[in-house]
């Protein structure tokens, strides 16, 4: 990678969306595009295992993950992310139908920045994105 490409990648806000539903992935992508954050770029994975593969290949700023997924669920994915020092700065957000206290307790030590419970309106997602990324966009 030459210096220009490296600088371009540094400015890119790579958001990894991890969900086994193609419909949810498309919906989240659409909301991120509407928000129009400078440099925002969406990456996709269908489960935790695929997400780990993407994380090893790309520089990712944020992970938006579902919980119930085949192969590797979102909780295990977050555990693995937090175990790797080079990934500790990644902003993690959960998007799940499971908003039970038990589930929230399960992820409480994993530095989750936001917990979005489905169903949610696009406005809620937009607000979460703004809170998390507007400081980055202004920097």
């Amino acid at each position: 990678m030459d210096n220009n490409n490296a600088r371009a990648e540094d400015r890119q806000l790579n958001i990894l969306v991890v969900d086994d539903s193609a419909m949810m992935r498309a919906m989240i992508k659409r909301v991120v595009e509407i928000c129009d954050f400078p440099g925002a770029h969406i990456l996709f994975a269908g489960n935790g295992k695929e997400a780990l593969q993407v994380l090893t290949e790309k520089r990712v700023s944020a992970v938006f993950t579902d919980i119930n997924m085949p192969e590797m669920n979102g909780v295990e994915l977050l555990r693995q992310i937090r175990q790797r020092p080079e990934w500790r700065q990644i902003i993690c957000v959960i998007i799940s139908t499971d908003g039970s206290d038990a589930r929230k307790q399960e992820v409480s030590g994993l530095d989750v920045k936001a917990y979005l419970e489905k169903p949610f309106s696009p406005e809620v997602m937009r607000d979460v994105l703004a809170e998390l990324f507007e400081p980055c966009a202004q920097a």
Partner: protein
């Protein structure tokens, strides 16, 4: 943006909030039994979950009613799609939904912000029906507040054969009917055998 699913669209939140704030008693479950408790069969929270999903994520104004005579329902546009999500935890079972493919297509457009001119393919329709049942099931189980979280399987979606009649769904225990713009969604639960 022409879709009803636009960011500035007004939500009918007042009624939904009022419903969600209703204090419902905790459901008692015998963990050793591991089956869908009888009370879950008429649990208002399942109805609330379905209404919440359709109103919040699809901006649809919906009406819930008892199944009544399913044979009297208006004819569906196209075939019926059937989705089933299996869950396990303090008790096990499935949440099942049926909806006409025409309604599935309309909901797909809402969800993705597509216009009438945009094509919706079979895969998108199937994904939509799967995600709809997944959200209803997950939302419902979440409100039960069990100390151990439930695990959900990926939804299975099948197309009912031509001529399939909604009254056949009664055999699989649909608990309520949701009317969406003159079309119908059937929702029910099935306990573990």
């Amino acid at each position: 943006m022409s879709s009803p699913n636009c960011l500035n669209h007004a939500l009918r939140r007042d009624e939904l909030s009022a419903l969600e704030q209703k204090k419902l008693p905790a459901m008692r479950v015998n963990p050793s039994e591991g089956r869908l408790p009888r009370r879950a069969k008429d649990d208002e929270r399942l109805r609330l979950a379905a209404v919440s999903v359709l109103e919040t994520m699809f901006y649809r104004v919906v009406e819930v009613s008892q199944p009544g005579n399913l044979a009297d329902l208006p004819a569906a546009k196209g075939c019926w799609l059937h989705s089933s999500v299996t869950f396990s935890g303090a008790f096990s079972g499935s949440v099942v939904c049926w909806l006409p493919e025409g309604l599935a297509e309309a909901l797909t457009r809402d969800f993705l912000g597509l216009s009438e001119e945009d094509a919706v393919d079979e895969g998108q329709r199937t994904d939509l029906v799967a995600e709809l049942s997944n959200m209803i099931c997950g939302r419902w189980l979440s409100t039960l507040q069990h100390p151990i979280p439930f695990a959900l399987t990926h939804p299975a979606v099948v197309e009912e054969p031509e001529g399939w009649c909604p009254s056949e769904a009664f055999l699989h225990a649909p608990e309520f009917v949701i009317n969406v713009d003159g079309e119908t969604i059937l929702v029910g639960t099935i306990g573990e055998k």
